[in-house]
Symmetry: D2
Subunit: 357 residues, 4 copies
């Protein structure tokens, strides 16, 4: 009997989603007698029974395309159990539609929120397999997520371009990169682009340390500097605040972003001319890099193998550089953050980079 | 007797400066018995007698490099005649050093400010030839300046990436591009990137017209839109202000840039989710495009021909798609701005773009 | 009454076809009450009555895409009048279907062959408008065709990469670029990439002159050189042959391409290590450059204006850097080739490039 | 007392050499009191005592640059012990100069040949540390070498471009990629680019299997196909030949490369139009990718740590995704080749790719 496989993509978009969908589908057709049901717009599609029975040719020509052919939507974990808000029992709906569609399993492709929801469905007794995607690379239990290296390539190209012009105008250039909680993208791109200062959420900075680093360079005759800042970077005072205080504090801050504030501080205190660059959603767009296409394809094809083995309740991950199944219950509520003693942090420091701590 | 040729680059840096320097130098060596003197750091180098006698090999390997091997500096025209400020008679110094260096002519590579200064030196009796560079393409008397198409390529790539992600998240994305006075870069990139709204300094916008365009798209089922905004774009109220009033008004505005303000207005008034991207100095950096390398080389080689003919007091320009010498006195105080009936403006409108006017 | 506009794309594909189709369509919808009929697979679609009535949304999202949504096919002019071959009166068919479809005009987008066929249909009394596309830039009567600058960007990037490695290994690197009859692409990219030798069909070369140039560089301590060769480049002996003799001669040549032969000659005669790179169809692929998107859009929008004015029988061209209508009868049988005194040729020479003549 | 550290780069150039040099140098300055001696032109520089005492600023601005500031040279292992050829005792010279320079250790950056030579010097009693670079990724004992992912990015971009044009012209396109012995680059890029057939040295192919795959696609209405071929790919007959027979056989083959032969066979036997693209040395050129810059920096910084610990006789490698020291004697004579059961090979197959075996 044909296996019926549901697939959905959930959360913020990133390069490689289509490559992963294609990987799951093609490898499933190859290994199994199966039918694939595309759930539209993430978990919302499962809540609302919005889906499409896919044909083999639907997966042709999508490997290199950005975005997702299934659509995506942010469906916060917090909302899942809250029936009162809209009167809809979302979890019950998902279970009901899963059964109505006679699914044998559901493949969910997404980031941390997606995996929390996947684990919730697992707890409800559904057969779920997760695939880890995010430009933040902050999913616990896997060494790498797809989307990350595509974003790194873009961010590094931005830093490269800024370097050329910084050099000829003796300016301090701030580049604000994505990452509210995790600094992997800023850290990796900062090292790749030869930044002088890297500020990330996990390592609260002090303005004085940043000033020192810039002054140090000035003394050596280097009148320009490159600062890579994660959008979620905080200084030591902010790091010490309660969540609530911090939120109010930031809302009242007369600067749109942390970079504008720091740029202002640097020009006021050190007299440097400063410029802010915010690549923004550039970092999520366009065709996935070769690395991400292959990673997404590998993860997708491995998911098909797990389906063939009826080995459910896992996310496909990379551990010790090898494909592996990691139980959803072990990883779904955790975050993989940069630690001060990470090899990458140490490498950056060894080649002259400052973290401002 | 050897001709002695001085070269300097002045104003903001942009891709193609080195290609132009190489073009002048190599073609001069080819046509003439000559020696080339590199003036360092723009006009400042001529004021301070900071220079270097160049050798042929100094011009090797620089065609593809960003920045300028001669260095650059902004030396405002306004300051030229003001001796009192620093007690230096800048114009007299330049004339003196030109004579001490026994220069037969001076090639000045730069934008509008550079050309004003070049014309001033011409009035002082020096033999000057200008080369038009700027990412703004706003130099009067030439159809094209080098640097422009390199910046267009970068800005268009940014819009492309934003498009992918805008589409899958139903957002209004604002991309703020360079251009304080001239909108050529935003206009050209906006058409190339398929933007829905383009706002430029020359065409003051009304918020209502922008809202209308977004609502129009929403009605057609297109819940995302791309707005390309020049950093110098102004709405109709601002356009009507005096220069002084405008300056104060902007300083008090609680938004770092025009895009953040408009994004805020759009989300408040129409309920769209909005995101701002500011590519910033990305637009000036990196290797020149093929187009700009060839343009800069052609302009440079033509300058050498003018030197051989002792035809001074001109800038090398493109008129009717052909190389030409345009008298400095005819163009030095003017600006080439976008007009409402420009072919490019009309083309954009014909394919569905809105200017908000 | 609604105007009925047919559109077809014909000949080899190149970046910008979809941008041009979109330009024609959107500007026509804007200016006119009209219906657009997409003819599939070039003239073949008109011969076979293979077409589709297009809707406005068919033209969305295609600006940046390579290829052509209408499909293309090479339908040689030579075959048009030859009924005997397949028993089909192709010209009569095209006229018949044009009338059956009640077309008011036909927009044909393509290169030289396409324009010859367009002129033939004009002679048959149809209302035809041409749009000039080709990576070769060899269409008579227009200063620029779209597709050219996209190809130049790719070819130049190839030369750049080769430069890096040539330098560190002291080799003569040959890069064979597209162009059977016209050398514009090789010439422009060669100058942009800083090639040392450029060989193009219009300027037959002698091996001795090439050797001299390489030896000259060796004497100056430059042990590597970059040679950009058009695939249609010929030496002086070949240039003197009859067409028939040349064809046989080339078929018997024990080298797949002209570059392999020259590489062999150079290593045998001068002892240099040589390497051949053939970017091939890379040069036709991928998304159009910003320049080409805007050019194709401008040409397309101008075609709509000509339709509104019922000004038929022309191709849309660029003359003196301005949009213009050029009569098909004046340009359809001619080719725009590089001449020895072209400004670009002179510029290359002035900066040290050799043409081997 | 200052530690004296020698560094050399050897073998074919590839992106990331300068990043690795910078990593070693900066991390050494950070960890140690040391002086760095740059050996010029690979082992040749140690044989001839051609070197330069480096200053800290020599390592600035080189992170993003292709090539190597130290120069490189191929010095085959086979020649090392052969004194008779040129009368020079190369090994003795290297030991002598190592001692004269009072080196505490020597860091050798290169591929398989480089590591064999490094091991030889280790056997002579010198303190050696290797760093693995090659676009082939075929160094035994490490999961990854720098240079590989930069080459993959370039090769994948080529395949992408070819895809666009293949599609609209119904052709079989062959792309010949680098790799004489190892197929990693072709395999990875082939999967990333969505190739239909991948032919690599480790998996000898039969023409019939390739034909079958193409016919299979034709039956499904897909009249175009993409074949990625490693330059060292062989068919089953060739794989069965002795080395000597094979060499003669290939020399007599009337095709410059394996791709031209296969293209000819396919068009003759199946009637497809075919085109060959050979990106060639493009694959070795240009700025390293972000991935490679970080990998090279990490490996370099780790080498400095090994020097600080006086832990010599190793190459720095990646095992289980972590930095590690692998003894030179364990890896120097071995090659890491693709095996039929590799995860990447299986992944490719699962998503529909054919290896022709």
């Amino acid at each position: 009997m044909k296996k019926r496989i549901g697939i959905l993509t959930s959360g913020g978009d990133c390069p490689g989603l289509n490559a992963a969908i294609r990987g799951v589908a093609r490898a499933s057709y190859d290994l199994l007698d199966c039918e694939i049901i595309g759930i539209k717009g993430g978990y919302k599609g499962l809540i609302d029974a919005d889906y499409k029975v896919m044909a083999s040719h639907d997966f042709s020509g999508i490997l290199t395309r950005g975005g997702t052919i299934l659509g995506t939507h942010r469906t916060p974990f917090k909302q899942m159990r809250k029936i009162e808000e809209d009167g809809i029992d979302k979890v019950a709906n998902m279970v009901k539609h899963y059964n109505q569609l006679k699914l044998d399993c559901l493949v969910t492709i997404g980031g941390n929120g997606t995996h929390k929801n996947a684990n919730l469905l697992r707890e409800e007794g559904l057969n779920v397999i997760g695939l880890p995607k995010t430009i933040d690379n902050d999913i616990y239990g896997t060494e790498m997520t797809f989307g990350f290296h595509s974003a790194v390539d873009i961010a590094t190209e931005v830093i490269d371009r800024i370097h050329t012009t910084a050099d000829s105008h003796d300016r301090v250039m701030l580049i604000e990169l994505m990452g509210h909680k995790a600094g992997w993208l800023t850290l990796f791109s900062g090292i790749a682009g030869g930044a002088d200062v890297v500020l990330i959420p996990e390592i609260p900075y002090s303005e004085e340390k940043v000033y020192e680093a810039l002054e140090e360079r000035r003394k050596k005759g280097k009148d320009f500097s490159i600062i890579a800042v994660a959008e979620g970077a905080v200084n030591k005072e902010e790091a010490a605040m309660s969540k609530k205080d911090f939120k109010r504090y930031r809302e009242e801050m007369p600067f749109q972003t942390v970079s504008y504030r720091l740029a202002n501080q640097i020009s006021t205190n050190l007299g440097f001319e400063t410029r802010v660059t915010i690549p923004g959603h550039q970092q999520r767009g366009g065709s996935p890099s070769a690395y991400d296409r292959v990673l997404a394809t590998k993860l997708g094809a491995y998911a098909a193998r797990l389906i063939a083995e009826e080995n459910y309740g896992n996310t496909v991950s990379i551990v010790n550089n090898k494909l592996r199944a990691t139980p959803l219950e072990d990883m779904a509520a955790k975050l993989k953050l940069v630690t001060r003693d990470d090899d990458l942090v140490k490498t950056g420091e060894a080649v002259g980079l400052t973290y401002g701590d």
